[in-house]
Amino acid sequence: MSGSRALVTSAGTPAPRRRASSRRLGGRFTGLLFVAPAAALFAVFGVYTIVYGFSLSFARWNGFSPNWTWTGIQNYLDLLGANPPLATSVRVASQNTLVVMVVLPIAVSAIGLVLAVLLNSIRRFRALLRTVYFLPYVTTGIAVFYAWRFVYEPNGSLNAILSGLGLTSLVQRDGFLGNPFTSLAAVLFVLIWANVPIAMLLYLTGLQTIPESVVEAARVDGASTFRTLRSVILPLLNPITALVIIIQLREALQNFQVFLLMTNGGPVDSTQVLSLRTYQLAFDQASDLGYASALGWMLAAVAIVLAVINLRILRSRQ
């Protein structure tokens, strides 16, 4: 072993390095063989579908006729304003999506951080609580969405709890998903609930990598617990926060299943979001599939731009 290490460390001269690397690799193209199965699958279900969908966004197609009618960027123009009824529904969906994009990352990172700090400061029940807090993340999906729907029903347990607490003014007669003023908040709550665990786990990981001596030093200097948290621990967790935000922005833009299964956009478009609108254009009112593709790619553009910005910020900080 020490011999092989010497071989690598003394690789200042070209000859031994080449010998070491050829041994290491077992041929220059071996790596490609290892990647080939993943790449082949991606070529079919990734590249092909991306190219197909992107092309379709520049065409009209009802899904049945043998040919597409090329229309250039007309689909995009229609969605942005040239087709008023369509553009209006897109604008409403954009506004709701924006609300989700602002509220979800803030709420999830705040709650996740608090839970992680609390968990990190206790010894007893830590493992048990971590399991309990993490459950929403692994079980999220149709079954849990239906359970929340039941809780929000007119005769569900949320109304019962509110009236039991004497908060009768907050009771929703049509249920929390039936009232356009509470429906978005109700779905958002479920989305936050489902996403807090992963933020908590990431923050907990980050907290465990902070050396105790750093926290100890702040305490010796007379910093209060809150001050230590704000001025010492939080800045050290910046990379984690950036990661949490990028994951939550992705979730805000992409997760349409929670909206599809809880409200399907209603009542009166109060929970309509861009990803759900894309789904509906493709599968519910499938009159023109070009619109669905164009809207999907507008969504993708936003997602990619945000990801690039986020990565830039993350990199410039490090």
């Binding site: 072993m1 092989s4 690598v8 690397s21 077992g26 041929g27 220059r28 193209f29 790596g31 290892f34 990647v35 199965p37 993943a38 699958l41 991606f42 279900f45 990734g46 092909y48 579908t49 969908g53 379709l56 709650i111 609580l129 399991t131 309990v132 807090y133 459950l135 692994v138 079980t139 999220t140 999906g141 149709i142 079954a143 849990v144 239906y146 359970a147 929340w148 039941f150 809780v151 005769n155 569900g156 347990s157 109304n159 019962a160 665990p197 786990l201 907990l204 990981t205 980050g206 465990q208 992705r250 992409q254 349409f256 990803s275 789904y279 493709a282 999907g296 969504l299 993708a300 990619i304």
Partner: protein, 287 residues
């Protein structure tokens, strides 16, 4: 001066910290209840009769009954749904465990042409929304003649798992000391031998993490099977559950019973494997 200050501050501080501790415990407990609340709702709903579920919103049933669970089991043809779900989730996990550790190993350890470009493409795929390519995927399933088969769901799920599986496994393989690799090379091991005898067995927690994440994702996948399959005998659990809710009069006790039957296997899987699962997730962030 300083001594006086601390002495004066101490009693108030102790009181404040005690209040803070009580508040913290209350917040802990409240969030714990909130975390399991949907499951409590499922359990209580599935123990109520059809009339009680409409009249008694409180979690504890007045006349608990197992009839609802039995009725739901029979009404849904639960064994068929279960087998279909197991086929979809099992095939997905098997393929994922064959394909992506190989790729992760190559990206972490080997050196080859286009390595950086290929890795960037796999990671970049993470930011193409699933809904954007959903329509082309369903059309592709149709063109390949996969509609109605489990493969129409399995292949897109496996492909969709690529970015996170590759990122996680690459990070984990990179954290394995390179000396092990060199020792295996000196012992005359081939690249595949090194992967199969050294890296694969050492990566148990990362492999379990990827498996659990994707088993759960496949288990609860509703949209793909609903779009690619109209034969009830081939429905997986989520589509069966959805059919229950789309009937005219929603019987919430049955919906909760079916939801419970879907979620219980996931909870058991998670609790049994969580030690590896959480370590694997955390390891990939640290690395």
């Amino acid at each position: 001066m300083t001594t006086i200050k601390t002495r004066r501050a101490r009693p108030r501080k102790r009181f404040a910290s005690r209040v803070a501790a009580v508040l913290a415990i209350a917040a802990f407990a409240l969030y714990a209840v909130l975390s399991v609340y949907p499951f409590l709702t499922m359990v209580s709903g599935s123990l109520k009769t059809n009339t009680e579920v409409l009249t008694n919103p409180w979690p504890i049933p007045i006349n608990p009954t197992f009839d609802t669970l039995v009725d739901t089991w029979n009404a849904l043809d639960f064994p068929t749904l279960l087998v279909n779900s197991l086929i979809i989730a099992g095939l997905s996990c098997l393929l994922i465990l064959i394909i992506f550790p190989l790729a992760g190993y190559a990206f972490a350890v080997l050196d080859f042409p286009f390595k950086r470009v290929l890795f960037a493409i796999f990671v970049g795929a993470l930011f193409v929304p699933g809904v954007t390519v959903l329509l082309p995927i369903v059309i592709l399933d149709q063109q390949l003649g996969l509609l109605g088969t489990p493969w129409a769901v399995v292949l897109p799920i496996v492909n969709g798992a690529a970015p996170i599986a590759i990122i996680l496994l690459r990070a984990y393989f990179s954290s394995i000391p390179y000396e092990l690799h060199e020792a295996a090379v000196l012992d005359g091991c081939s690249p595949f031998g090194i992967y199969w005898r050294v890296y694969f067995p050492l990566s148990r927690s990362a492999l379990i993490t990827v498996t659990v994440l994707n088993f759960v994702a496949a288990w609860i996948e509703y949209v793909l099977p609903a779009l690619t399959n109209d034969d009830p005998s081939r429905y997986p659990l989520p589509v069966g559950l959805q059919a229950l809710l789309s009937s005219n009069v929603v019987q919430w006790n049955q919906v909760m019973a079916a939801s419970l039957l879907i979620v219980v296997p996931i909870i058991v899987l998670f609790v049994v494997l969580q030690r590896y699962f959480i370590n694997g997730l955390q390891g990939s962030v640290k690395g």
